[in-house]
Symmetry: C2
Subunit: 349 residues, 2 copies
């Protein structure tokens, strides 16, 4: 049998794990990266950095619910499954260190397909020095399931919670909003939406880049109050910060950083780019607050310049924290103030 | 709508998480248990015990592959999903501390069903002081998926690896072997296998008790060389220790600790109890080695007495580590020595 035709049901689980470990290469080793024992015993044995706190999170993705294999190459899927987890570490201001990968796989999947998922995981992991220290593989007859558990570290003073916003704070957001939703709309529309300059949108959906470096730089400024990553859409994340911090939020529609490409794609498809930005989700940008008061907009501009210079990512000032607990509002271009409902995706509807 | 009829699709994900957190009660809080922030932010924020190493592992279970809802109540399922993870921490000699629970759920499942899964998790977690610090819930249209990630701690000198066995070591095993396989056979056979005294077998399959306390006591004896938990059957675990330690193993069939109940059920069903013990898996007992040499069988008996006294769990001396790398053998009652193949369950076959 040609290697390319091998399916999971043709090899043993042991052989599969050996092959996947080989794909990981150095990303599966981690000598000197706090890994005393990685893949291959009952648990991983890890050495944390003294003085840090441990950050831990997991995100499960299920075929047909979180991703469509018509759009994703297995390599992109592996990348994204890790990216959404790294994004959670970024939201806390931490440094990602170790990950475990649980995969539910159809027995008839090609072995090379699974190796490609791992290649995507390894590609992104090596970007940030993350070591894959364990996981599990099992049979899932109908749908591919990926659950990644990420472990990170942060010094106590660096951890940023959702609850850190105060009245008057400026609300800032990294990068562009709505690009991931635009990318998904583009992929769904197929050839009829093909126009130039849309590769970035597609990649925003398929291969988001977690804002680890941006978060670290922002935290080091000492200005960050609350921080979240935008997984469920800006509206929903604003509500989470407002609720956790016991305050409200007001943003200006005109200040939402929507890319030219997303705006023109929306026009073409008869969609509303503002909805993509507010409710589309999966942008994995950072939403954060910094202290308000005199000179704070200037400070936000300075922070933007620093961030762009260091990482290429912009930082936009989009609104302010208001005292009214739980009230989240949007100021429309005509000056009208509307309530902004949490919206976002509900898994069970 | 009566609360008892509520289905996942009738409530928001937010409400579900609130309800599940309530079911957890103190098991979801963990003040003073190293939990700085548990459920409710982008990641959990945890405080490790200085001087310890972090143990991390995850185990994914998929309906119809790892468990059958015809046999499991949701509470038993929650218990077992956590138990298999705790067993991995036991195998390393560690103390389990925090867990994250990812659930893929059918939208038409009753909310109370999911709450019962959590009640089972909470029941076992509270036994060992484990705090549930996060997780994920999402829709899985065909099959229930549970992936639990467990985090534990151990002092450096306490960690027991698979690779710690040496020539001449005694091979010991806790509790009874084959009971979980017997329990599953019993459940599958239904009413035709109903005899007295089988509740223990059923529970061995449905609600295994991870050997955390036993492992801790054994480790403190300072005698443990290699240690594994028996998730895939004794034969397979012996091969893992042999391979990792660069040696071989020989066990005596007559010394396998098989319960009376399992033996008589096997006779009734025309099954071979030795096969259940060697290949059945899911016993979640500990397989370990202690130094051989003069007086070591006496030491094993002493260790057994200590363990029984403290935990009620027996410790049986079943074989010896031999020099021949990778050779695993069984001495049959008639004195014949046969090779013992790894066997065990292969997920993709």
């Amino acid at each position: 049998m040609k290697d390319n035709d091998l399916r999971l049901q043709d090899i043993s689980e042991f052989t599969l794990i050996e092959r996947l470990t080989e794909v990981l290469g150095p990303v599966g080793m981690g000598a000197g990266q706090g890994v005393i024992r990685g893949i291959g015993d009952d648990t991983a044995v890890l050495q944390n950095t003294p003085g840090t706190r441990l950050l831990a999170s997991c995100d499960m993705m299920i075929e047909g619910r979180h991703f469509d294999l018509a759009y994703f190459s297995p390599r992109e899927l592996g990348w994204k499954a890790l990216a959404v987890n790294l994004s959670d570490i970024a939201a806390m201001g931490g440094r990602p260190r170790w990950a475990m990968v649980s995969l539910g796989l159809k027995p008839e999947l090609k072995v090379t397909f699974v190796e490609e998922i791992y290649a995507g995981i390894a590609e992104l992991a090596s970007h940030f020095g993350v070591i894959i220290v364990g996981g599990d593989t099992c049979s899932s007859p109908e749908r591919l399931v990926i659950d990644i558990c990420i472990l990170g570290e942060a010094y106590r003073s660096e951890v940023s919670y959702r609850s850190g916003a105060s009245e008057g704070d400026l609300i800032l957001v990294t990068g562009k909003l709505g690009s991931a939703a635009a990318g998904l709309a583009l992929l769904r529309a197929g050839s009829k939406a093909e126009i130039g300059g849309t590769e970035e949108l597609r990649l925003a959906h398929l291969k988001p880049m977690p804002r680890i470096r941006e978060a670290s730089l922002l935290i080091r400024s000492g200005l960050v109050g609350a921080m979240n990553d935008i997984s469920d859409g800006l509206a929903s994340e604003l509500h989470e910060i407002a609720q956790a911090s016991g305050c409200g939020a007001r943003i200006w529609a005109e200040r939402l950083p929507i890319s030219q490409e997303a705006a023109s794609l929306a026009r073409r498809l008869g969609a509303e780019p503002q909805d993509w930005a507010l409710y589309g989700g999966e942008d994995y940008e950072l939403l954060l607050t910094i202290p308000g008061g005199k000179g704070s907009p200037l400070q936000a501009r300075k922070l933007n310049r620093t961030l762009v210079k260091a990482t290429g990512t912009t930082l936009s000032f989009i609104g302010r924290i208001i005292p009214d607990s739980g009230v989240v509002e949007i100021v429309q271009p005509n000056g009208e103030i509307e309530p902004l409902l949490p919206g976002g995706y509900d898994h069970f509807k």
